[in-house]
């Protein structure tokens, strides 16, 4: 693989920032709005075998805020337009956390351009009666501890991401995260009704120790999407791409390789 390179792609009059690396089947990774974000070991591992694209969600990481950005469905429609603008076919769509919510919403609208869908610790559903950690009530380091399982991973996330230089960007990102997920908290009550419309082969990958979306959530996604299968990652919290990058990349690569679709 090579280094990720930065590109600007115009979609709906908005200049989307996209990082690209690797060659092979097209993989579009939609990131989370919680945790370290950005390009990490998971992306690098995927790019060894695939042509990986990872956009920066509009408004995040100090990118311009589009006027239309109010909720996750806005982003789902926007990324559908991105796929259309690129005339993309046979894309393997991978969504992490809230990125998984965007990906699932997108796929309920139109999965014709997707070769597969992978949802990793996806937000977007609510499973009644399952206690969830609060990602907003507390300090940033407390949030990172709740989002990881291994305390060492939490400390690494804190050291790498809670820097003075990134404080402005983080605070703005948290503002967008609240805008998208505060109420209803981390889900769209209507999404589950339409998950049966997803026609792409679907993998649900879940951290066995996810405190934000406990394991019952992974099972719910599997049960609601026709034909979906669930893989659980042991010793892993919500931030799977950060905490278990190699394991997650291996699971995703294996799944993608199992789909007989040319890019």
């Amino acid at each position: 693989m090579g280094e990720f390179s930065a590109h600007a792609v115009e979609v709906d009059g908005y200049e989307l920032r996209v990082a690209r690396a690797g060659a092979g089947a097209a993989v579009l990774v939609l990131g989370d709005v919680f945790g370290p974000g950005g390009i990490g070991g998971f992306h690098a591992a995927l790019a060894k075998k695939h042509a990986v694209e990872a956009p920066t969600h509009p408004g995040f990481d100090a990118t311009p805020t589009p006027e239309w950005l109010d909720n996750v469905s806005d982003l789902a429609n926007f990324y559908l337009d991105y796929l259309k603008a690129r005339a993309s076919r046979g894309v393997h769509l991978v969504g992490l956390g809230v990125g998984g919510w965007i990906a699932a919403d997108l796929a309920t609208r139109d999965s014709s351009r997707l070769a597969s869908l992978t949802l990793v610790n996806a937000a977007g559903l609510r499973v009644d009666g399952v206690a969830q950690a609060d990602v907003f009530l507390g300090t940033e380091d407390e949030a990172l501890r709740r989002l990881t399982h291994d305390p060492a991973a939490a400390e690494r996330a804190i050291a790498e991401t809670l820097t003075p230089e990134s404080e402005d960007t983080r605070l703005l990102n948290q503002q967008y995260a609240a805008r998208l997920t505060w109420q209803p908290r981390l889900h769209d009550p209507h999404l589950r009704k339409w998950l049966r419309r997803i026609e792409a082969p679907t993998l649900v990958a879940w951290g066995a120790e996810n405190a934000l979306f406990p394991k019952a959530y992974g099972a719910a996604w599997r049960d609601l999407i026709p034909g979906a299968k669930l893989e659980t990652i042991a010793g892993c919290g919500h931030l799977a791409a950060f905490e278990k990058p190699a394991e997650l990349a291996a699971i995703v690569s294996t799944f993608i390789a199992g789909q007989r679709v040319s890019a």
């Binding site: 009530l137 404080e167 605070l171 609240a178 805008r179 505060w182």
Partner: protein
């Protein structure tokens, strides 16, 4: 100076250790700590205190709104204002209702119009954003706080000033028929006060609207600077603001001597500052409610979250005024001249302070402080008037 009597109605009988264990009196302090037998007694004592303050000559009575906290037992301030409306003779103010927290702001237009009618125009309306912790308690999206506040405000003013029925088509609220009965007694509408902790956006907005800005509890130098900022923003808006547009929220405690005052106030003041108030920025500043610049400013105050404040710390910063009659008169006069305000929102009870002590404090303020300030204006304003 117009000295109002302001009550927070805290759950004064709270187990302080329970707050220390929970780390906060807000959001997550279990309401199993609330005893309704004690609470009933407190509600009635507090209403007595407000009626007493009215009979002693305070300019008006103020209640406010807080939710799911031992800090204040008035989630529905209109209930308290309703209980007072026919009992007090002075002004009556609700400072204020948290507009973004409701899904139908017209209920606030109705509630305030009722109070304005019952008091025959002695009512003052307060509008606030609500504090950060309440976005956790109510589930309202803090990133929509400002937008909801402004739309709710505009709708309420329109409902008060434009004959109905009319249609409201907004981003957050939509109504086919806006036509509240009653309409306000005062025309075009009751005076509007806006409490805030001092964010530039709010100060500017209140100045532009020509409302009265109320600075919540803060070190006095910050109060004075915020009032300077308000006058600048009024200048930019093309008018000279009046001292009647500036209100300082404080507390006053008077005893015979400074020493006695400090000794008697200490446990109640320290409980108020350290246990009842939450100083946890993570709880008070949910994302979107405060700007990143505001959050950074608070984070930069070292020890903000952890350091306990002693009574001396609080007095040194001029957050409240405590002492002998002479000391209190001097400090309040100096504050008025320095910050050029003409409204004081004064608590006589705070933290764990018991009823008997509050009553004594109210008498002392009525006898030793109120007469001295009744016709007093800020020094510069006095000169201008002469």
């Amino acid at each position: 100076m117009k000295i109002f009597h302001f009550h927070l109605m805290p759950y004064a009988d709270v187990n302080l250790q329970a707050i220390r264990d929970a780390g906060t009196a807000w959001v997550t302090l279990s309401n199993k700590e609330y005893d309704p037998v004690k609470g009933a007694e407190l509600y009635n004592q507090y209403l007595d205190q407000m009626e007493h303050a009215d009979s002693l000559g305070f300019y008006g009575q103020i209640v406010n709104e807080h939710h799911q906290t031992a800090y204040g037992l008035m989630p529905i301030p209109g209930v308290m204002a309703g209980a007072l409306a026919r009992r007090v003779k002075g002004k009556l103010a609700v400072l204020g209702r948290a507009l973004p927290l409701v899904n139908n702001p017209l209920t606030i237009a109705e509630e305030f119009a009722m109070l304005d009618n019952i008091t025959r125009g002695r009512f003052i309306a307060g509008f606030v954003r609500g504090i950060g912790a309440e976005y956790h308690s109510f589930g309202v999206n803090p990133a929509e706080s400002l937008g909801r506040f402004q739309e709710a405000h505009d709708l309420i003013i329109r409902a008060w000033t434009q004959p109905g029925p009319f249609v409201h088509e907004g981003k957050y609220f939509n109504f086919k028929y806006v036509n509240p009965w009653p309409t306000p007694y005062q025309k075009p509408h009751p005076p509007i006060f806006c409490p805030s902790s001092g964010s530039l956006d709010t100060v500017r907005w209140v100045a532009q609207k020509r409302y009265t800005y109320c600075q919540t509890l803060a070190p006095f130098e910050m109060v004075a600077k915020t009032f300077d900022l308000f006058r600048e923003e009024a200048d930019k808006a093309g008018y000279e603001s009046s001292p009647d547009q500036l209100a300082w929220s404080n507390a006053i405690f008077v005893r015979e001597t400074d020493e006695k005052a400090l000794r008697d106030v200490r446990p109640h003041l320290e409980a108020y500052m350290n246990e009842f108030l939450t100083r946890d920025p993570a709880m008070m500043m949910p994302p979107g409610y405060s700007s990143p610049a505001s959050i950074k400013r608070v984070r930069a105050m070292r020890g903000y979250r952890t350091a306990r404040q002693t009574a001396e710390d609080v007095l040194d910063k001029g957050i409240i005024i405590v002492g002998s009659p002479n000391t209190v008169r001097e400090k309040l006069a100096a504050a008025q001249d320095r910050a050029k305000f003409n409204i004081s929102l004064t608590k006589t009870q705070f933290g764990t302070m018991p009823h008997a002590l509050v009553t004594e404090n109210q008498h002392a303020i009525a006898e030793e402080i109120l007469p001295y300030f009744r016709d007093r204006l800020p020094a510069a304003a006095k000169l201008a008037a002469e």
